[in-house]
């Protein structure tokens, strides 16, 4: 599945969407609110799903090579997080869906083989 399909499914809004983000292929999704877990997550072309609004999430994502971040269950984003995403050029989106619902939707999408 590509990032565009994911963003549409999660009804997410872009916070930082660098050129060509739509076509980014996502193979794995990792959902967590614990930095230590994110840090040891392994997956290729991985999307990070989190409700943490700390800019450290963005740094951690870059360290593990996550290709994009979707902030879930959030209506607001701290400015620090967006500027960190811009600095690193990591695509960042925000969805108001709760994390569980977001996971279920993505799971169904994966099953459907999108």
């Amino acid at each position: 599945m590509n990032l565009k399909q994911i963003v549409e499914t999660l009804e997410a809004v872009p916070l930082h969407a660098p050129e060509g983000w739509e076509a980014l292929e996502i193979e794995d999704v990792f959902a967590s609110d614990l930095i230590s877990d994110i840090l040891v997550s392994e997956g290729d072309n991985q999307l990070l799903l989190t409700s943490l609004t700390s800019l450290q999430v963005v740094r951690t994502a870059a360290l593990v090579g996550a290709v994009a971040i979707v902030l879930v269950h959030r209506r607001q984003t701290p400015p620090g997080m967006v500027s960190a995403a811009k600095d690193q050029d990591t695509p960042l989106f925000r969805s108001t869906l709760p994390k569980y619902e977001a996971c279920v939707k993505l799971g169904r999408m994966q099953e459907a083989g999108a």
């Binding site: 930095i35 230590s36 997550s41 700390s54 740094r59 360290l63």
Partner: protein, 313 residues
């Protein structure tokens, strides 16, 4: 004004780095003048006068049970009890230092306590030396000039061969400064990538580095963070100035955390930090002294065939 190089002085990053490499035993005076409980205050005064020292430990079967300072002798002189046994007037609650702790712990101890000297004990708690600010200063000067010589030599080697690129950087980390924490790790990752290190090894080094950076910011009063990369390995050293870890074994246990609610709200405090570092490192060392600081050293080999990232499952 203190005679000891202050750990938090801005200009002393390089000095601190020198001090991490030294242990108290490398620096202490091993020629010790000590007395037993039954010696008199006058005996101590004679020892001080003959040897030009200002503090004498009181020992019982080589264990430190007290200390007499110049001040105690002056009081004895004024109040007329110079012939009393030292056991009546010594300070018996003596703060000692272990001979195998980093020199930075001693520097912290001098800035925290008002003592002018610390008796140094070995693992069996026997007196093996004395350390004073003068010992520290002399050792740092010696070490500084030794390293300068070394740097001149390697500098010439690099010029002639064009190889042996060494990346060495020291970062300062401040308590709760989550805004800057993680930058050293990002830089480390960039450096390793440029050297063509396999991604799995980069991951392991980045995990160790990041967890240690966060540890300093989340748990310590602040400290320094050093990254050294050569052709064979990455060495990451995290040093802080306290408060120290009361129980290192617990801190090394997965799930054990002392993080407060605010730190947890930032996504930290899962109790996986140090265990993660240990798991991804090829060499790991931790030392901690209450009120003195914690030193963690993690080494990741760059040419290791085992590139596993050690996911916890």
């Amino acid at each position: 004004m203190s005679e000891v190089p202050q750990p938090l002085d801005d200009s002393s990053l390089r000095i601190q780095e020198l001090a991490y490499g030294l242990k108290v035993r490398d620096v202490m005076t091993t020629k010790i003048f000590a007395v037993t409980r039954t010696c008199t205050m006058r005996d101590v005064q004679v020892i001080m006068k003959n040897n030009g020292i200002s503090g004498v430990p009181v020992v019982d079967d080589s264990h430190v049970v007290g200390i007499i300072s110049m001040n105690d002798i002056m009081n004895a002189f004024v109040d007329g009890y110079m012939d009393d046994a030292v056991s009546l007037h010594m300070i018996s609650d003596v703060q000692t230092l272990s001979d195998d702790v980093p020199l930075t712990f001693a520097m912290s101890a001098f800035s925290k306590f008002s003592f002018r000297r610390f008796p140094v004990v070995n693992q069996k708690n026997a007196l093996v030396g004395i350390i004073t600010p003068r010992n520290i200063n002399l050792a740092l000067i010696r070490e500084l000039s030794r390293q300068l010589d070394e740097m001149e030599e390697t500098g010439e080697q690099t010029k002639s061969t064009g190889e042996n690129k060494v990346f060495h950087r020291i970062y300062r980390l401040t308590r709760y400064d989550f805004e800057h924490a993680g930058r050293a790790s990002a830089e480390l990752k960039k450096q390793l990538k440029a050297r063509g290190v396999p991604p799995k090894i980069i991951r392991r080094a980045a995990i160790a580095s990041y967890e240690l950076e966060i540890n300093i910011v989340a748990h310590s009063h602040g400290g320094t963070f050093t990254v050294l990369i050569d052709n064979e390995r990455v060495r990451i050293t995290a040093n802080d100035f306290g408060p120290g870890i009361p129980d290192v074994d617990s801190a090394m246990t997965e799930g054990y955390s002392t993080a407060n609610d605010w730190i947890r709200s930032q996504g930290f405090g899962a109790g996986m930090g140090l265990p993660n570092v240990k798991r991804v490192s090829d060499e790991f060392e931790i030392q901690s002294g209450l009120e003195m600081g914690t030193m963690v050293k993690a080494i990741v080999y760059l040419t290791d065939s085992n590139g596993e990232c050690g996911q916890n499952n």
